[in-house]
């Protein structure tokens, strides 16, 4: 039983990071119909910003703030430079643009910084665990769960209470009519990218705290996971992205924890098979509504 609860906490912590990433991906998708494959590279950017900030002696807290700010600004800049010119083009064009942006960033990181990983030292207090009712919960896990919860609450308030937030949800449903409300299309898209960058930045910090280094290709795998989470939750649904992120983490952690040894090599295939089965049963995703299926 204890192990079960422990694995539950493990899944919750991992799910938080997936959820933040997936939410960022879904936010951009919901307004533009674009899966931004350069999303993961925003995490990488957070990592390099932190690496250089720590190297310049700025200290970890400031490095974290700068790292997140940099991802946010970079996301907005990415939209302005790369995606705005092709906004009215078809989905395939936008998808290819995002892959191009990602590849260009990889090349720049590899050739201007280093192809080799760069270490980001994590203070030792972050590595310990706290005892919560007999459960050993890692400090990073705890931070991950807390940060995710706070961010999701703040975002939910923003999306429900502010005009821009409501406009973003409206734009996800019907972009032209949102513009008919006098809402500036560029402002909505820029906000979506900015928020996605913020989320990627926070997820990046949590991810980096676990892995301790940044390398040029580090964003590739997380963006794939986030993509699976978004599809699982329901393309176009923000709540779906969050649910999808947690669902994916729970599937992964529980398979890794409880599959018999002989089955372990197949855990990834089993995960994806489960995702496919879920999508066969609910093609619109866990949360998505049928009308949202594109």
């Amino acid at each position: 039983m204890d192990i079960l609860i422990q694995q539950f906490v493990n899944a919750l912590s991992l799910g938080g990071t997936y959820a933040l990433l997936a939410l960022g991906l879904a936010m951009v998708f919901s307004v533009l119909g674009l899966i931004n494959f350069a999303h993961g590279d925003l995490m990488t950017l957070t990592g390099y910003t932190m690496f250089f900030a720590i190297g310049a002696g700025l200290g970890l807290p400031l490095a974290v703030v700068l790292g997140i700010a940099c991802a946010t600004l970079a996301a907005v800049a990415m939209e302005r430079v790369a995606f705005r010119p092709v906004r009215d083009a078809n989905t395939a064009t936008m998808l290819l643009t995002s892959l191009a942006v990602s590849t260009i960033l990889h090349m720049l990181f590899q050739n201007l910084i280093s192809a080799r990983p760069r270490a980001i030292p994590v203070p030792s207090w972050m590595i310990g665990a706290v005892d919560v009712g007999g459960l050993a919960i890692g400090v990073i896990q705890l931070m991950s769960i807390t940060a995710t919860a706070l961010l999701l609450i703040a975002l939910s308030i923003f999306l429900r209470r502010s005009i821009l937030g409501i406009a973003m949800r409206a734009a996800a449903l019907d972009f032209p009519v949102t513009r008919l409300m006098g809402i500036n299309a560029n402002a909505v898209v820029a906000t979506a990218f900015g928020l996605s960058g913020l989320l990627a930045g926070v997820a990046g910090v949590l991810w980096l705290a676990q892995r301790g280094s940044v390398d040029p290709l580090m964003g590739f795998l997380p963006v794939l996971k986030a993509f699976i989470a978004v599809v699982l939750g329901g393309l176009g649904s923000l709540a779906g992205a969050v649910v999808g992120g947690f669902a994916l983490a729970f599937i992964e952690v529980f398979l890794r924890a409880f599959l018999p040894d002989g089955w372990l090599p197949f855990r990834e295939s089993i995960t994806l098979t489960l995702v496919i089965v879920l999508l066969l049963v609910r093609p619109e995703g866990l949360i998505g509504r049928r009308e949202n299926v594109r």
């Binding site: 429900r160 449903l173 019907d174 009519v177 513009r179 008919l180 006098g182 299309a185 009308e291």
Partner: protein
């Protein structure tokens, strides 16, 4: 076709193309302050294209749009809305997953900065009491007629100088249509200027001051509503005379 300051909306020589297809081939109309003007035409005559082009939702191939004497040709829809013209789109297109309250709030986005969103909201809820009852309900759960009321109220939340209504009777039961049209007339009495696109010719001409008939992308006929109603030429124009 002289454009004078008495014209609140003045559209001239409008052309819209979708690839090789010419949807609008040089159409124009004027709407004076306080008027209800109706734009009639058969299915596919280009009525919606006309409205979308006027709003800046689809690009113009040629033509000029002026609002209160100011040239607004080629401006983005959001800029047009902020200048005081809005469109209540065909098929209502309320934000189904947003509550009634949120639909109205976003409708008043441009007034929130002006600070009078609350006054307009109170006025709309007074005018459409059913929206007050359904305030926290998802817009998608409303009936067709209620959704149409919400769509109109949402458009009015920006306190427009002129509102373009695209097919407000579409898919609604006759009794509901009557209610909607009464409300349109009531809006006019409170000073609203309306350009109404309709397929229901009789109803539209009943409440309109003047009318235009669009056929094959051109204005085939225009005149005071009563004359159009009496002449019987509207039906002929509907057959198209290209």
């Amino acid at each position: 076709m002289s454009s004078g300051p008495e014209h609140l909306l003045d559209v001239a020589g409008l052309e819209v193309r979708y690839g090789a297809i010419e949807a609008i081939r040089g159409a124009g109309l004027e709407v004076c302050k306080g008027e209800i003007v109706t734009l009639l035409g058969a299915n596919g005559a280009g009525k919606s294209s006309f409205l979308n082009a006027v709003m800046g939702l689809v690009p113009l191939a040629a033509g000029r749009v002026a609002l209160d004497g100011e040239d607004i040709t080629g401006e983005t829809p959001e800029a047009v809305v902020r200048r005081g013209m809005t469109l209540c789109p065909e098929g209502r297109r309320v934000f189904a997953n947003l509550t009634v309250r949120e639909n109205l709030a976003i409708g008043g986005a441009t007034r929130r900065r002006a600070g009078d969103a609350a006054t307009i909201l109170a006025d709309m809820l007074d005018r459409f009491p059913v929206l007050a009852e359904r305030h926290d309900q998802m817009a998608g759960t409303l009936s067709g007629g209620e959704q149409q009321m919400l769509a109109i109220a949402r458009a009015m939340m920006s306190a427009p100088r002129i509102v373009l209504l695209d097919e407000p009777s579409l898919g609604l039961a006759p009794r509901v249509v009557d209610t909607i049209f009464e409300m349109i007339v009531a809006l006019q009495h409170h000073g609203a200027t309306i350009l109404l696109v309709e397929q229901n010719v009789d109803l539209a001409l009943d409440i309109a001051d003047r009318g235009y008939v669009l056929a094959s992308g051109r204005v085939a006929l225009s005149g005071p509503a009563s004359e159009l109603q009496a002449s019987g030429e509207v039906e002929r124009a509907y057959m198209g005379r290209d």
